[in-house]
Each structure stands twice: as C-alpha cells, then as structure tokens.
C-alpha cells in the first residue's frame, strides 16, 4: 500500500478511523514503527517507553523526555529550620533518573502524600543530568507517623 495523506479530517459522531489492516503497525515517516527505539537517526520511532529500578521514562523523537519516579519515605522527620517564616525541611534525598537528560534545564514537580511539601534541595540546585536532590518541607516541625509517598516528574530533553 502506498502513502495515504489525510487533510481536514472531520470524524462524524459515532464513527472511527482505522489505519492499517489487523496486526499491522502504524509507521512513522521514517519507516520505523510508531513505538520503539527513539534515536537521533533517520530510522527513529516516534515514542519510546522504558523503565528500570529508578523509574519510567518516555522519550519522543523531537528530543523531549519525561521521567516518572516514586519514593516512599518511612516516617520521615521534617525538623531542620530553613527560615522563610519558620519553614522546616527533612534530610536531603537523592533520586537517580531512569534516563539521563542532556542538560540541567529540565523541570521537576513533586506530588507528596499527607501534609508535606517537597522541593529541590538548595545544595543541589541545579540538579545534575542524572539525579535530583530534594527534600520534604513543612511549615512547622513534624514527623510522619506513616510512610510518605513522593511522586516525582521531570520533563526535559534527551538531546
């Protein structure tokens, strides 16, 4: 089958568009399958999903990469005064990335369970291309009475 170009497609309610016969893969213009190994080459796929013990990553052919990581802290103490109107922090933690960014201009966001906040630790800003330094923060001294789960998302570039 040759290449089909579709312009100004306006699906009707209750209809769907299927590309390729059953068992076929939609392929990128490079000829590679849509989801596979992403590389700086003419044979690259569009999206690559991967994982290891440090977390999950999604690389896109345009150079964007998203890393997702989880950490569970056991009854963390958040008691070190850092000023700023009485804010306190925990010990500093280090989270290795599942895949390296090309530079330290990537953005990081945290989602923390229970009453805590999390942020980059001042002694590791900017984070390196391979790891993030961070700690828990709170407005007054506290010790978690249960495990605290922290989810970290980093978005940047892999090339």
């Amino acid at each position: 089958m040759g290449t089909i170009f579709v312009d100004n497609l306006e699906p009707q309610s209750g209809t769907s568009l299927t590309l390729g016969a059953s068992g076929d893969s939609i392929k990128a213009s490079t000829g590679a399958v849509w989801t596979g190994t992403v590389a700086e080459s003419s044979s690259s796929s569009i999206v690559e999903n991967g994982s290891n013990s440090n977390g999950k990553f999604t690389k896109f052919a345009d150079g964007t990469m998203i890393c997702l990581m989880d950490e569970t802290l056991t009854t963390p103490a958040v008691t070190t005064d850092i000023g700023n109107g009485g804010q306190v922090r925990s010990n500093n933690y280090t989270q290795s990335l599942p895949a390296n960014f090309t530079d330290t201009s990537y953005q990081v966001s945290f989602s923390v369970g229970r009453l805590f906040m999390a942020g980059l630790s001042s002694n590791s800003e900017p984070s390196s291309v391979s790891q993030i330094g961070w700690h828990l923060r709170a407005w007054s001294s506290a010790t978690g009475d249960e495990n605290v789960k922290v989810s970290i998302m980093a978005i940047g570039r892999w090339y």
């Binding site: 290891n52 013990s53 280090t94 290795s96 990335l97 599942p98 391979s130």
Partner: protein, 100 residues
Amino acid sequence: MKIKLNPMVVSNSKQAPVISLSGLILTIDGQKIDLSTIPVGGQAESDTDLLQGIVTRDEVTVNYLYSTDIYESNQSTKQQDYEFDITEGTIACPLKRRSA
C-alpha cells in the same frame, strides 16, 4: 561486598559496564578502584563518576549506564535485581538485551 547497580539510560550507544571484584579492588570497565584506602568501618564520598554516593569497604553503588539500542527499553524495576553480594568475580549483567 554488596554491589548495587544504579541503572540509567544514556543517549549514546553504550554497553553496560563490566564490573568485577578481587579482594578490595573493584574494577569497572578496566578502571581499578582500591577500596582498601577506606579505613575499616569508615566511609568515603565518591570522587568518580563511576560510583555514586557514600562508599564503604562493604558496599558500593555503581552508576550502570546503558543504551536502549543494545538493551531492551523496559528492564526490571525491582531493586533487588540490581544488587549483588560477592567476594570475588564478575557480576552478571542483569539487563535484557535486544534480540539480534
């Protein structure tokens, strides 16, 4: 000695490191690291990109860089699959290679 691997994907094509231990000499891709310089019961901060964090005579964490053109994108997510307790010899690579 407990050797922990810290797996990280890099963009450039790269084979996973070859790691071996002989006594207190740790060898990573041919580079020797003499852990006997660390006092018994003491610890040191890693001063090489090969290792991460605190190093003792009993435990090290090795940065385990690899690329997904050689190894599969999805590897084990279990920490225990990247931990080895050995006294001598070479560590078996825990990564799944892509089929040829």
